[in-house]
C-alpha cells in the first residue's frame, strides 16, 4: 500500500491544482465581458425646435471667405516681392514662415488688436464654452409649456361677444407685463385689432379681451422661468366662436 500511496497522492494533488486553474480562467473571461448597458431608443425630430448648444469651436473665419466657397484649382502662389533699390538678387535666408514681430500692448491701440482675426490661435489656447447658435424651426419648444399654461388659464376667463356678423375680423392683440407673483404690472396695451377699434363690434371684442386678462390674474406660472413670461402677448381670435 505504501508503494501506491505516493503516486496516488501526487496524481490527486495535480488534479486538484488543474481544476482550480481551469475555474479561474473561466471566471476571468466573465469579468472581462462587456457589461450590458440599457439603451432607450428615441426618435429625434427631423428638425430640432430648440436652439442647440454646441461645444465645438467656431469654424475659422477663413472658411467663410470666397476662396473657401469656390476652391481654386491651384494652390495660391506666394507673391513675388521685388526689391526696392537693388536689382541684383542677393541670396538671403528665407524668412521664417511662422515668425511674428513682438507686439507691445497699447491701450490706445485696442481697436487694432481686436481687429486681428486669429481663430486658430483661439482654438489652440483653450476649449470654448458652450455657445448658442441659431437652430432650425420656430425655436419655441422651450416655451410651449408656458403657452399651454397661459392658454388653459385665459380660456376660462374669455367670453367674447358671440353671434356678431364678422367674427373672423374681430381679432384682438394685447401685450401685458407680469410681476413675479403673476399679477399684472401695468394696464394691458392694445397692440393690434382686426378692424378699426371704432367699430362697435370691435370695441366690444377689445373690452371682452381686456376683461378676460384682468379677471384671470394672477397667472400661475413657474417662478424660476420668470424671464420667459414677464412679457406676454395674447392674441384673441373669436372666429371659431358661435
Amino acid at each position: 500500500m505504501h508503494g501506491l500511496g505516493l503516486p496516488a497522492s501526487l496524481a490527486l494533488h495535480c488534479a486538484i491544482v488543474a481544476s482550480f486553474l481551469f475555474t479561474w480562467s473561466h471566471t476571468l473571461d466573465i469579468v472581462d465581458a462587456t457589461p450590458v448597458v440599457p439603451v432607450d431608443l428615441v426618435t429625434l425630430a427631423d428638425k430640432t425646435n430648440v436652439a442647440p448648444m454646441t461645444t465645438e469651436p467656431p469654424k475659422p473665419e477663413e472658411e467663410q471667405t470666397p476662396d473657401a466657397v469656390e476652391p481654386q484649382q491651384k494652390p495660391p502662389q506666394p507673391e513675388e516681392v521685388a526689391p526696392a533699390f537693388d536689382k541684383t538678387p542677393i541670396p538671403k535666408p528665407p524668412p521664417k514662415a511662422q515668425e511674428k514681430p513682438k507686439e507691445k500692448f497699447d491701450i490706445n491701440n485696442i481697436m487694432a488688436l481686436l481687429d486681428k482675426k486669429k481663430p486658430a490661435k483661439t482654438a489652440e489656447k483653450g476649449r470654448n464654452g458652450p455657445q448658442t447658435v441659431k437652430g432650425i424651426g420656430a425655436q419655441d419648444a422651450m416655451t410651449a409649456d408656458l403657452r399651454s399654461l397661459l392658454q388653459s388659464q385665459i380660456y376660462k376667463c374669455w367670453s367674447p361677444p358671440v353671434g356678431s356678423p364678422r367674427p373672423d375680423q374681430l381679432t384682438v392683440e394685447f401685450q401685458l407685463y407680469l410681476r413675479l407673483d403673476g399679477t399684472i404690472a401695468q394696464p394691458p396695451k392694445l397692440t393690434a385689432t382686426g378692424i378699426s377699434s371704432g367699430d362697435p363690434f370691435m370695441r366690444a371684442a377689445v373690452e371682452a379681451a381686456r376683461r378676460a386678462i384682468y379677471t384671470c390674474a394672477p397667472y400661475r406660472l413657474p417662478v424660476e422661468r420668470y424671464g420667459q413670461w414677464q412679457s406676454v402677448i395674447f392674441v384673441f381670435d373669436p372666429r371659431d366662436m358661435f
Binding site: 403657452r147 356678423p165 373690452e207 378676460a212 379677471t215
Partner: protein, 433 residues
C-alpha cells in the same frame, strides 16, 4: 477711453434682449354671461323710491333674459350707491365678481316729468362706459327702463338692443273645435298685454310695419280671407284691396310702402306685391306650384319665399321685381316660412324632417345651415330688430295648445315668452326709439 466707450456701446446695441414677449394664441373661450351689478336707482325723494327700484328690476330682468348678462344678487352688494355722480369704489364691486356696474337715479321734476339718469361702469377698467339721461311722463318709466337696457346691451355687445320692442301675436283660448283667436300685442318682456280684436272672427299671420304703428294681418271677416291693416294709434282697420280670392302671409317692405303677400287662385297661389300708396299690385311668380310666405331683404332689393315648384317645399330667392328666381335650400326635408334677418346675413326658416319641425338659419346663398331648435313642432320664426334673437311658435305635444319661445342665433338661451294663455304666430316689432 472714448474708444472703449464706443466698443461697449456697440456691444450693447447687438445684445439680445433678456426676454422677448411670449406670444399666446387664444382661440378657445368659455362663453358665460357677463356678471353685472344693478343696484336700485337712487331716488331724490321718497315718492321716487318705488320707481327707482322698479327701473332697476326691469333692467335686470331684460339683461338676464338676453342670456348674455348675469345680474348679481343685490344682497351680495358691499357698497351702497347714494350718489351717481361720484365714482364708485370699484374694489368693492370686484369682490363680488361684478364686471359691469349700473348706477342710476330717478327724479320727479317740478313740471311733473320723470328724469332718469344712468351710468354704466367698467369695474376692471375703472371707467365709465356710457351714461344717458331721459325725460318722460311718469307712467312711461317702464319704456325708459327698456331703453336703458338697450343702451347697456349695445355698449357691451356692439349690437343694437331689442328690449324696447313689442310682439304682435295670436292669442288662443278655448277648446280645439271652438278655438278663439285674438289679435294681441305685448311688450317683449310680456308686460302690457293688449287685445286688438274681440274674437268674433279668425285672425292669422300678423306683421308689424317698420314704424311699429301698423299691423298687417289676415282675417276671415265675413267668411272671406283677406289681408287687413290695423293702425295701433287710431285703432282703425282697413281691407288691403278687394281681391276676388284668398290673400294671406302679408309682410311689409323695409320702407313700409309695400306689402308682399300671396294670392290664391284656382288652387295655385303666387306672390304679389302691393304698393300701399297707389294700391296697385304686381304679380311676381307665375309657375303652377304654390309660392307663398314672401319676406323682403333688409335693403328691399330681394324677396325670399317658399315654393313647391321643384316637387317639395323649399326656400327660394328672387329680385324684388320677380326676376332671377332660384332655390337656396338643398338639405334633407322640407323648408318653409323663410324670414330675412334685419341684419341681412341670415335667413331663418322652419324645417320639417323626420316628423319634427325645427327652426334654423342659413346664409342667403343657402350655405351654413344651422338648426337652432329641436322642439317637436317649432315653426314660424320672426327676428328681433337686431337680427340676434328669434321668436317662434312651439306646439305642445298632443295638440294641446302652443306657446311662443325665443332663441339666440347661436342656438343658446331658449326661453318661453310670457304670454297670457296660449299663443302663436309672433311677429317682432322694430326697435321703438
Amino acid at each position: 477711453m472714448r474708444r472703449i466707450g464706443l466698443i461697449l456701446a456697440a456691444a450693447m446695441a447687438f445684445a439680445v434682449p433678456a426676454s422677448a414677449a411670449l406670444k399666446v394664441d387664444v382661440n378657445q373661450a368659455n362663453i358665460q354671461p357677463l356678471p353685472i351689478a344693478i343696484p336700485d336707482f337712487v331716488a331724490a325723494n321718497p315718492a321716487d323710491t318705488a320707481v327707482g327700484e322698479n327701473i332697476a328690476k326691469v333692467v335686470s330682468a331684460d339683461l338676464d333674459r338676453s342670456g348674455l348678462f348675469k345680474p348679481l344678487d343685490p344682497k351680495s352688494f358691499v357698497e351702497k350707491i347714494a350718489n351717481i355722480d361720484s365714482i364708485p369704489n370699484f374694489g368693492s364691486w370686484r369682490v363680488i365678481t361684478a364686471q359691469g356696474l349700473v348706477t342710476g337715479q330717478a327724479v320727479t321734476q317740478p313740471d311733473g316729468r320723470l328724469r332718469v339718469d344712468f351710468r354704466l361702469w367698467d369695474v376692471y377698467g375703472e371707467s365709465q362706459m356710457t351714461g344717458k339721461q331721459y325725460f318722460t311722463q311718469p307712467n312711461n318709466w317702464r319704456y325708459v327702463a327698456h331703453m336703458i337696457s338697450d343702451a347697456i346691451y349695445e355698449r357691451i355687445t356692439g349690437e343694437k338692443g331689442y328690449f324696447n320692442t313689442r310682439i304682435v301675436f295670436i292669442s288662443e283660448s278655448g277648446p280645439a273645435l271652438a278655438r278663439k283667436k285674438l289679435l294681441a300685442v305685448i311688450d317683449q318682456d310680456g308686460a302690457n298685454p293688449l287685445f286688438l280684436t274681440t274674437g268674433s272672427y279668425i285672425v292669422l299671420t300678423p306683421r308689424f310695419n317698420p314704424t311699429a304703428q301698423m299691423i298687417a294681418y289676415m282675417s276671415y271677416i265675413g267668411g272671406k280671407p283677406r289681408v287687413y291693416l290695423f293702425d295701433l294709434e287710431s285703432g282703425r282697420q282697413e281691407k288691403l284691396g278687394d281681391f276676388p280670392n284668398m290673400t294671406f302671409s302679408p309682410r311689409f317692405s323695409p320702407d313700409g310702402n309695400k306689402v308682399a303677400m300671396s294670392l290664391e287662385k284656382g288652387g295655385n297661389s303666387d306672390v304679389y306685391v302691393m304698393d300701399l300708396r297707389t294700391r296697385t299690385s304686381q304679380r311676381l311668380t307665375f309657375d303652377p306650384g304654390i309660392d307663398t310666405a314672401p319676406s323682403f331683404s333688409p335693403d328691399g332689393r330681394q324677396i325670399t319665399f317658399e315654393s313647391d315648384r321643384g316637387g317639395t317645399q323649399q326656400v327660394y330667392i328672387m329680385n324684388a321685381d320677380g326676376s332671377n328666381q332660384h332655390r337656396i335650400s338643398f338639405g334633407d326635408g322640407r323648408y318653409g316660412t323663410p324670414v330675412w334677418s334685419p341684419r341681412g346675413d341670415l335667413i331663418a326658416f322652419t324645417k320639417q324632417h323626420s316628423g319634427t319641425f325645427s327652426i334654423g338659419v342659413m346664409h342667403a346663398d343657402g350655405s351654413g345651415e344651422r338648426i337652432l331648435t329641436n322642439g317637436w313642432a317649432d315653426e314660424g320664426p320672426t327676428w328681433a330688430p337686431n337680427g340676434r334673437v328669434l321668436m317662434f311658435t312651439r306646439g305642445v305635444r298632443g295638440g294641446r295648445g302652443s306657446h311662443i319661445w325665443s332663441v339666440d342665433i347661436t342656438g343658446r338661451n331658449e326661453r318661453r315668452v310670457a304670454t297670457p294663455g296660449d299663443a302663436s304666430d309672433p311677429a317682432w316689432s322694430p326697435l321703438i326709439q
